[in-house]
Symmetry: C2
Subunit: 341 residues, 2 copies
DNA sequence: CTTGACACCAAAAACGTTTTGGGAGAGTAA
DNA sequence: TTACTCTCCCAAAACGTTTTTGGTGTCAAG
């Protein structure tokens, strides 16, 4: 079928060993022979069998990522960009990227992690959207399986991660809004189990405190990080008697849904209502009006995570195992109107 | 390290063969022995090594998909939903899904397909966003590598695919617009090499002809299927002296970008300008105003493609190798205003 | 009693690599 | 010459499965 190393060796009248070592760049092969081998191998279209190599080296040369979505409607641009980053990094390191989908804490999720750690089709795993008590982190650490994460958990566990200081970001955002005269600032969040919710919500509260604004629980809604979720949550908030003048959303998707709810009520976003999101997705540039948001470098983060993971897999110490990045506040028309005037 | 079949056999004082055959459900193992084997294997946490199995069976139990994006900014919800469909289908068949990214006709793309066909980490490949002369289809067919496609190519090649009758969809869309009094209907398309462009453009032209409207080349713009691309293309069209009153976009993303261009010019979408897209992504529900679009069942299509691919891999004849689906016209406020009044 | 048929199991080959442990020959030093 | 060191190459083992081939009892039929 496919051309194997044996075919190449036979053609060259060399041993399999020599061909293998020549291709792998060992220095116990003469330059002439190596050149001959490489030329012939390429000419014959030889590519090592992945399975055989994996079996022998006990390494898969692949990494895995489980998209944390609720199928069939996961269309979060965060995931897309994250996957693009992982994919490109993987390719440039000659790795394969294995993808699966499972909603958080579902049976499917448990199953896939069990399979990946036992059957070892991947050398390491990238986690994203961590939960405060993330069973995945616990499980992988327990089984001594290499992994890195986007975001951290509140567990007595040490693992490499990159996270955004989204708390600081939201503090900054509240400040931005209060400086424009907003006094009733609402917040649409995510389920409490997610670390990102804990931090962003904390940032929101901290921001209120900094601005000497009272926290009002009725101005807080929980959603599910989707457009539709944001739409529904915003409906409730906008129908309050004392309507908020500003809406901080846990991510851009939520904000996009919220904008729709406002429009349906004839509330002009950017004038009668300020709305802000988080992520800095391309979507946010094209909303009406363009959305104020906190940008995080999703693609680059994904790439960097792969680097960290590879070090982890290789057993090398990781230079900077806990990276904390600052999100960048991007002010657009959805929040520029000054309410104090 | 991990527990192997040998360990299980030793524990049970059975041969490796028997353990293997018991687990695989052959009927030349007594029921009692089988039960014993299964129980012990589970208790010991035995999971067959993927690599060893692959090597021996000459099958990877995995399928591959290359995201046709321009990194780093691929955030097309089409891909997201497509991947979700592939992933779920793969999981339910106990397959792995390998993902890579490469922009069309790039070196990276050639490289990845070469590697996947030679090194065989996947049993089959799913293609999407076909090109008229798709080298991938040609290449895979030539190398007798199993694949299926979303959309077809204009090649003398027979392969299984599912495609949308987007031509008919666009005819219907033009009819919808002309019935509302639009006479200057513009079109923002994609690069000509894509099959989807050929078909949708043809539908647009056919629709004009059906409505006895003259085709005007200045009302046609080429874009790149992204929001930003749509934004730029729309700018040109909206700055024409004789401005179009309707804008048909090759996909939703393009339409979203176009809407922004209109807003920046103070043109009220839905009143002074009709805009329509294609795909029926969740995005389209939340734009301002909500976007008229042609919905295609991305997630279901992906799942069905996996089924077809598996038949192909197994060498089974495919019941219905060429599926053609009708997109569903979803009329929303972006095109409801009647110009003839 | 012999002959199959059947149920069960073991040994060994094979999949295609990488790695281990030399080994032949040439050159150099004593 | 002998002993030693390089340089270049190779045979064989190993990775963990599945599959092929064949062997041993037991039992029923002839």
């Amino acid at each position: 079928m496919a051309v194997t190393i044996r075919d190449v060796a036979k053609r060259l009248r060399l041993s399999i060993t020599t061909v293998s070592r020549a291709l792998d760049g060992y220095n116990d092969v003469s330059g002439k022979t190596r050149a001959r081998v490489i030329r012939t191998a390429r000419a014959m279209g030889y590519v090592p069998s992945r399975a055989a190599r994996q079996l022998r080296r006990q390494r898969a040369d692949a990494i895995g990522y489980v998209i944390p979505g609720q199928a069939p409607y996961f269309t979060d641009p965060f995931s897309s960009e994250f996957i693009a980053g992982l994919g490109d990094a993987a390719t440039s390191h000659n790795l394969d990227l294995l993808i699966s989908t499972a909603s958080p804490d579902s049976d499917a999720e448990h199953h896939i992690y069990a399979r990946w750690t036992q059957s070892r089709p991947v050398d390491g795993i990238v986690l994203s959207r961590l939960r405060l008590k993330d069973w995945r982190a616990k499980y992988l650490a327990q089984n001594d399986f290499p992994f890195v994460a986007h975001g951290h958990a509140r567990l007595r566990l040490d693992f490499p991660y990159i996270e955004m200081d989204s708390r600081a970001g939201f503090v900054q955002l509240v400040q931005h809004l209060s400086a424009r005269g907003h006094r009733r600032i609402a917040y649409i969040g995510a389920p409490a189990k997610f670390t990102l919710q804990a931090e962003r919500f904390a940032g929101y509260q901290q921001g209120l405190a900094d601005a000497h604004l009272a926290f009002d629980a009725t101005l807080v809604a929980e959603s599910d990080l989707t457009r539709t979720g944001g739409y529904q949550a915003a409906q409730r908030l906008l129908d309050l008697n004392a309507r908020p003048t500003a809406l901080i959303c846990v991510n851009d998707l939520t904000a996009i849904g919220a904008m729709r709810a406002a429009r349906e009520r004839g509330i002009v976003v950017g004038r009668a209502l300020a709305i802000a999101g988080y992520d800095g997705t391309e979507d946010s540039e094209h909303t009406d009006p363009p959305l104020t948001t906190l940008r995080q470098p999703i693609y680059d983060t994904a790439q960097r995570l792969v680097e960290m993971l590879l070090d982890r897999v290789a057993g090398k110490p990781i230079v900077e195992p806990h990276v904390i990045l600052q999100p960048e506040l991007i002010v657009r028309e959805s929040t520029t109107f000054d309410f104090s005037s």
